[in-house]
C-alpha cells in the first residue's frame, strides 16, 4: 500500500485529462492505496465550480469526485490563486473581494500551493493529469 498525491491541471469539461485522473484515483483506492489529496491547479480548479451543469444524461465528474472523496476520506484541495483568476471563489474569497456570489462549496477546500508541496513531500508518488 502506498500513498499517492494526484494533481489535476485540466478542466472538468473540454479535456479528457480530469476524467482520467478520476479513474486513476478510483483504481488506486479500490486497490487498497491511500490518496493524500487531490490537488487542483491551473485549469483543474474548474472541476470545483459548483455551477458546472452537465446535462442529466451525461457523466457528472464533479459529483463523482465528491462521492469518491467522501467514500475514501481524502481531501479535494484547490489552489486559491489559480481559482481566483479563473472565477472560482468560496464564500470567504467572495467576502474578501466584496462580491455577493461564490461558486465553490465544501467539501472542496481552498488551499495554497504549499499544500501541493507538503503533499508531494509526504506522499510516495505524485501523478499529474
Amino acid at each position: 500500500m502506498i500513498k499517492f498525491i494526484i494533481q489535476v491541471n485540466s478542466p472538468a469539461y473540454g479535456s479528457a485529462s480530469s476524467y482520467n485522473a478520476y479513474r486513476f484515483t478510483e483504481a488506486a483506492v479500490q486497490n487498497g492505496h491511500l490518496i493524500d489529496k487531490v490537488f487542483f491547479y491551473q485549469d483543474g480548479v474548474l472541476n470545483t465550480n459548483s455551477l458546472n451543469s452537465p446535462a442529466s444524461d451525461e457523466f457528472d465528474l464533479q459529483k463523482a469526485w465528491l462521492s469518491l472523496s467522501e467514500q475514501y476520506k481524502f481531501p479535494l484541495v484547490n489552489c486559491v490563486s489559480a481559482a481566483l483568476r479563473r472565477g472560482v471563489l468560496s464564500v470567504s474569497e467572495a467576502k474578501e473581494n466584496n462580491t455577493g456570489n461564490w461558486n465553490m462549496e465544501p467539501p472542496f477546500i481552498m488551499g495554497g500551493l504549499g499544500e501541493l508541496v507538503t503533499g508531494i513531500e509526504s506522499a510516495d508518488r505524485l501523478v499529474s493529469f
Binding site: Q7, Y41, Q42, S81, A82, R85, G112, L113, G114, L116, V117, T118, I120, E121, L126, S128
Partner: protein
Amino acid sequence: MKKLCIVFSQGPHGNAKGREALDLALLSASFEQEVSLVFTDEGILNLLKHQSPETVGAKDYIATFGALPLYDVETILVCEAAMEELELAEHDIKLEVQFSSSQAIAEHFNHVDEVLVF
C-alpha cells in the same frame, strides 16, 4: 525535503503555464524543497531578454526569474537541442544557467524525486 524538478516546455504569454510553473518553483523553494528547473522546447523563450509582457496585457512574471538565486534555486538547466532548434545563442538568455545536453537532462530526471511539466 524532496528534489523537485519543474520543466518549462511552453513559451510565455500565450498561456499561464510559465507563470504558474514559476509560482510553484518559488513556493517549493520557500518550503525548503530542493528545486531545479529545466527549460526545453519553446519554454526556453521564458528566459529571453528584452520582453514586454504588458504589451499583450500579461503580467511581467519574467522579471521574477531574477529572484531565483534569492530562493537558493541554483540548478537551472537549458536544453541545448531546444536552443539549436530556435537558433538562440547563450548571450540571448538572461539568467545564469547550465546549457545541457539531452543526455544530461535525462540523467537529471532520474536523479530527482518528482518532475512536474508545465
